[in-house]
Subunit: 429 residues, 2 copies
Amino acid sequence: MSAAKDLVIGLAGLGTVGSGLVQLLKSNASEIEQRTGKKIIVKYVAVRDVNKKRDLPEGAKLIDNPLLMIEDPEVQVIVELIGGTNLAGTLIRKALENGKSVVTANKALLAEKGEELFTLAEENNLFLAYEASVAGAIPVVQTIKDSLAGNKIHNIFGILNGTSNYILSEMSANGTQFDEALKRAQELGFAEADPTLDIDGFDAAHKLKLLVRLAWGVHYPYDKVSIQGIRNMSAMDIAFAQSLGYTIKLLGQAEYKNNEIEAGVSPVLIPAKAILSRVDGAFNAIHINGNAVGPLFLHGLGAGSLPTASAVLGDIMSIMKNIYDTTGYVTKKFPLAPIANIDNSVSPWYLRLMVHDTVGVLRDVAGIFAKQSISIAQVIQKKQQEDGVPLVFMTHETTVKAMKNALAEIKATNILNAEPVAFRVLELA
Amino acid sequence: MSAAKDLVIGLAGLGTVGSGLVQLLKSNASEIEQRTGKKIIVKYVAVRDVNKKRDLPEGAKLIDNPLLMIEDPEVQVIVELIGGTNLAGTLIRKALENGKSVVTANKALLAEKGEELFTLAEENNLFLAYEASVAGAIPVVQTIKDSLAGNKIHNIFGILNGTSNYILSEMSANGTQFDEALKRAQELGFAEADPTLDIDGFDAAHKLKLLVRLAWGVHYPYDKVSIQGIRNMSAMDIAFAQSLGYTIKLLGQAEYKNNEIEAGVSPVLIPAKAILSRVDGAFNAIHINGNAVGPLFLHGLGAGSLPTASAVLGDIMSIMKNIYDTTGYVTKKFPLAPIANIDNSVSPWYLRLMVHDTVGVLRDVAGIFAKQSISIAQVIQKKQQEDGVPLVFMTHETTVKAMKNALAEIKATNILNAEPVAFRVLELA
């Protein structure tokens, strides 16, 4: 281990996100080194019960008091993933007082008691990074902080709580009542045994408060955010909304208008045609409107072990770049890409032929497909048009090479009235 | 002007994006200073014709040879917005050789001749920033470079050319033929007089090459990207695709598989239900899948004066943060937000009442609405259910206060069988 070469971190908490981070540090070590020229060394892992068996990063010391990490001058960054507000708050404060930057996913702490900590970080010119606190894997903090730094933000709104969104999606798709949808969410691990934070809107309000802070550079006290959850949502209202052309979503909304800021969380009817209505299940999504950027929309996983750890790791690497003053990739000259032969690429295909209306055409084409092992999923034959009979095929997965061969063979016959049209098909969820 | 305090830049090019940047530097000066503690001073503006009348930033010198800016040691960052590959390439090379970071929107230059320039930047530990080159206002470069830095990227695909997407959207929505849709795009300023770069897929391929470079840290030569444009797109194929449940989009797609990378641009059928199918008009959108982040989707304006300038400005400010070693907002303690009174907030409302089935109920409710100046857009009355008759209203825009008052008055009558349900409505495009 060498602090001169590597980044040394202390990790507090080995729950869902902490374990995800440990897993990523191992599986993605080559990507990390490629981009930073350094390794990330976990010197300490602090957990409540040091006797429980765990997968630890190589060489990490297991401790039960996270505050011990602060005293080690070799530790450069503290990663706080224990949650709660007491010990976590103390840990972050002491880390910042001792010259260590902090990465955290603790939205409740930052939203309710964060101002002192943010100020402390700024005063010491340290990072208090919290991408993972807002909308999990979606890079909304970095987007507002850096990419949109030169914008006047008009408003921000979105789906900030995956649990509520899962329940509302379930109710919308299947006409399920709230209690049943909640139970299902709990069985699938999308909701906690005590779902209060999620379904009563508090979690979304924590995130909204942090977004308001970032977008407008102000302290909007968490207890001033107006909050209405979805606990009493009725299947009847979801059905009425649908019949009127709307979807009900739990939205966090913040707007800057007439030199004032309004921020609230509540169930809102949005047009079924809007892209936000398409945000289903445990996904999160955020609209940001700025005077330069226009409308921007970000969509991704709002929770989960690896997605949240992805955001934590991104923050750690940004801090590394700052500490070691690198610009991104450290490779001076990029190696040539290993280029795949597109002939081997596999997908379904759409194919339209304009053929003479003669007996046996379909048989001939089908024969050529069979010869190339191309399996047909659908066929449409339409009636005679000006330039022939359109014959449309959707194939199952096949290679570019097989399709090229088939097209060449079809062209070599005498059945075509026009150039064939062939497009690939991308099946998406 | 003080180089110790402010950031001094030289701007080459005052076309669509350059003018947008000048406009933003003026209109958003307070946001820039709030986040960086500094001003951005444009010391030079280089244009082809110095005799033409122009809106210049205060104090800027108009010059016709952009290379002159390189020789001024006070200039810290060169912003290259002249386009083309010859002079622009020379300008960027000389800037990097002389210790100046560069911000550019020049995708063609970077995609076709960028490797030498990127290497030069890395060798000198300078920034060659190009967020504006790929998908305009969408922060995809920063997302891949920083937020997803710790990910193994599986694939990237998306709509990278707004002109083509506008044409395909137009053809899909109205059954328009290609030539007519192109003409319309040209009339509206979405397509150039010579649309080759856009409709033949070259522009999307430039962007894709840059994304591949960034995602996998490799040089994927631009001429190895397989390219098929939309020039011969037929309204018939769009109609067939629709009848099969698909939308045709011009996609850039790159995938890392079996240690090889495949990259191509082509028209592709995607399911009409997919969120990507909803990307209409001149918008761009990008899906990124990584082993930690999972699926991430970004959507925004891919071109235009202010959106592209927004990305340029974000890059300039990121470089400032690096030069002056600041972490984000420079305010140590954030001021209290000016909190809007939510009672004055205006929106349409959804309201459901469960009422007794008696004569005059609708009249009574309508009377209360009229008294509060709430205008009704739609009413649904359904037949008797177990707990009463559901009476559903969609109102036109009204304040929270008026709705609260109306609800209080309705509750004070004797018509309700259950608590009323009231949600706000958000109208979205």
